[in-house]
C-alpha cells in the first residue's frame, strides 16, 4: 500500500468511506463502482465487491427457475439399470433411502444434507431474502436468513454429486445395461442455474439492500 497518500489519513476518514478486506484485514478507501465492475483487494486478491445490474430482479428469476427444477432433479430417475431382465432405477432420494436401509444412517444423513436439504434451504433463504428486499417487508428476518444462507453455502454439493453420478455410471457400464433418465438432465440444469445465481447475487449489494443503504435495490 505504498501508493496510498498516507496511512494515517485513512483512520481519520469516516467509517462509511472505508472498507477492510475480509481475508487479510487490509484497510482501504471504499471504491465507487459502476454496474458490471468489481474490485479486488490489492494485497491478497480477494474480491471485495462486484456491482451487478438489476441484481434483485435477475436473481429472483433464477431462484424461481432453480426451485422449479428442484423436484424433478431429485425425484425423477437419473439412470435405469437392466440386469438379466430385472430393472432398477436411481434417484437422488432413492440413494439416501438405500443407504439408510443398509444400516448406514450416519452417511445417509450426510448425503441427504449435502445433496438435497442444504441446496433446497439455500434456495429458500435466497428467495425469502430477495422477496423481503423487493416487497420492502421483514428486512430484519431477511438479514437473519441471509446470514444463515452464508453458513450453508459450503455444504451444498450439487457439482460434486454430478461428478459422483458420472463415476458411478462408468463403474456400472460393464456390469449391466445402463440408460439415462430425465432426472439427470433436470439435475444438470439445476446445477447450472444455481451456479449462475451465485455469480449474479453479489453479496455486498444484497447486504446493502437489506440494511436499507441502497434505496433503489428493489427496482
Amino acid at each position: 500500500m505504498s501508493d496510498s497518500p498516507s496511512e494515517f489519513s485513512l483512520s481519520s476518514l469516516p467509517i462509511e468511506q472505508l472498507v477492510a478486506c475480509h481475508e487479510c484485514d487490509l484497510l482501504m478507501r471504499k471504491p465507487v463502482l459502476q454496474d458490471g465492475e468489481s474490485a479486488e483487494c490489492p494485497r491478497c486478491g480477494y474480491e471485495l465487491f462486484s456491482h451487478r445490474h438489476h441484481v434483485v430482479r435477475r436473481s429472483l428469476a433464477l431462484v424461481l427457475t432453480a426451485l422449479l427444477l428442484y423436484v424433478p432433479a431429485n425425484f425423477l430417475p437419473i439412470m435405469q439399470l437392466n440386469l438379466l431382465g430385472q430393472t432398477s432405477q436411481d434417484t437422488v432420494w432413492s440413494g439416501v433411502i438405500g443407504l439408510y436401509e443398509s444400516g448406514m444412517q450416519g452417511i445417509a444423513v450426510v448425503v441427504f444434507l449435502c445433496s438435497m436439504a442444504v441446496p433446497l434451504l439455500k434456495l429458500l433463504c435466497q428467495l425469502l431474502v430477495l422477496l423481503s428486499i423487493r416487497m420492502d417487508f421483514g428486512r430484519s428476518y431477511g438479514l437473519l436468513l441471509y446470514r444463515i444462507y452464508h453458513h450453508m453455502r459450503e455444504w451444498g454439493m450439487l457439482e460434486v454429486y454430478l461428478m459422483g453420478i458420472l463415476v458411478a455410471m462408468v463403474k456400472l457400464m460393464d456390469l449391466a445395461d445402463l440408460s439415462l433418465g430425465l432426472g439427470l438432465f433436470c439435475f444438470i440444469a439445476l446445477l447450472l442455474v444455481q451456479v449462475w445465481l451465485e455469480v449474479t447475487m453479489s453479496p455486498h449489494q444484497i447486504w446493502e439492500a437489506l440494511s436499507g443503504e441502497d434505496i433503489h435495490a428493489g427496482d
Binding site: S11, I15, L99, S115, V160, M163, A168
Partner: protein, 205 residues
C-alpha cells in the same frame, strides 16, 4: 494498514466495518447482528483439534472397506484404493485419476496442508504470506470434492439392488471417510485467514 490497528472490526458474516468497543464483552455487528471478533477466538487451537481428529480417522478410512459388492452369494469388500485399482483394470484411466485425486490425494494434501499452514503461522516459517493465502484458498475450495466417493456409494447402493443376484452395501470405512472430509472442511472454516497476514513483519506484501 490493518483495520484492527485503526480500531475497526470486520464482521465475519456481512463484512461491515464496526468501530471497536473496548468495554463490551461481546460485540455485535451494527448491520447484520452477527457476533464480531477482531480474530476468530482460539482459531489455531480449534483448527489443530479438528485436524488431529481427522488425522486419526484417516487411518480406518483408508484401511476399512468402504463398500461390499455381493454377487451371487459372494461378497467382495473394497477399500478406497481398491476402487481406484478396479477402475484402472477396467481401462477407465481418466475416471480412475479423478477418484484417486478426490479420495486419496486431496484428503492427504488437506491434512498436510492445514498442518503446514498452522505451523507456518505459529512459527513465521517457512512460507511467505502469499504462498500461505494461495494454499488456504486452494484447501478451502478443494475440500468439498472429497465427498465424491460418498456420493458414488450412495448411487451404487441404490441402483445395484437385485437381491441375491447382485447388491452393494456401504462399509464402515465410508463412515470414517465422510467424517474425515467433514472435519477437514470444518478445520478450514475455523482457520482465520487474517492470521496469515498478522505475522508478516512488513505490511507491503
Amino acid at each position: 494498514m490493518r483495520a484492527i490497528e485503526a480500531g475497526l472490526l470486520v464482521c465475519h458474516e456481512c463484512h461491515q466495518l464496526n468501530p471497536v468497543d473496548v468495554d463490551a464483552k461481546h460485540q455485535y455487528c451494527s448491520r447484520c447482528g452477527g457476533q464480531i471478533h477482531a480474530r476468530r477466538p482460539n482459531s489455531l487451537i480449534r483448527t489443530w483439534a479438528l485436524l488431529l481428529t481427522s488425522a486419526i480417522l484417516y487411518i480406518p478410512a483408508n484401511l476399512l472397506p468402504i463398500m461390499t459388492v455381493n454377487s451371487l452369494g459372494k461378497g467382495a469388500p473394497a477399500t478406497i484404493m481398491g476402487g481406484v485399482l478396479e477402475l484402472i483394470n477396467f481401462g477407465m484411466l481418466p475416471i480412475a485419476a479423478v477418484v484417486f485425486i478426490a479420495s486419496i490425494l486431496v484428503p492427504t494434501f488437506k491434512l498436510v496442508g492445514i498442518a503446514l499452514l498452522l505451523y507456518s503461522v505459529q512459527r513465521h516459517q517457512p512460507m511467505s504470506a502469499r504462498q500461505r493465502i494461495l494454499m488456504y484458498r486452494f484447501i478451502e475450495w478443494i475440500g468439498r470434492w472429497s465427498m465424491l466417493d460418498i456420493f458414488v456409494i450412495a448411487i451404487l447402493v441404490a441402483v445395484v439392488n437385485f437381491g441375491s443376484l447382485a447388491s452393494i452395501e456401504a462399509g464402515a470405512g465410508a463412515a470414517a471417510f465422510a467424517s474425515v472430509v467433514i472435519l477437514t472442511m470444518l478445520a478450514a472454516l475455523t482457520f482465520d485467514p487474517r492470521l496469515i497476514w498478522d505475522n508478516t513483519e512488513t505490511d507491503h506484501d
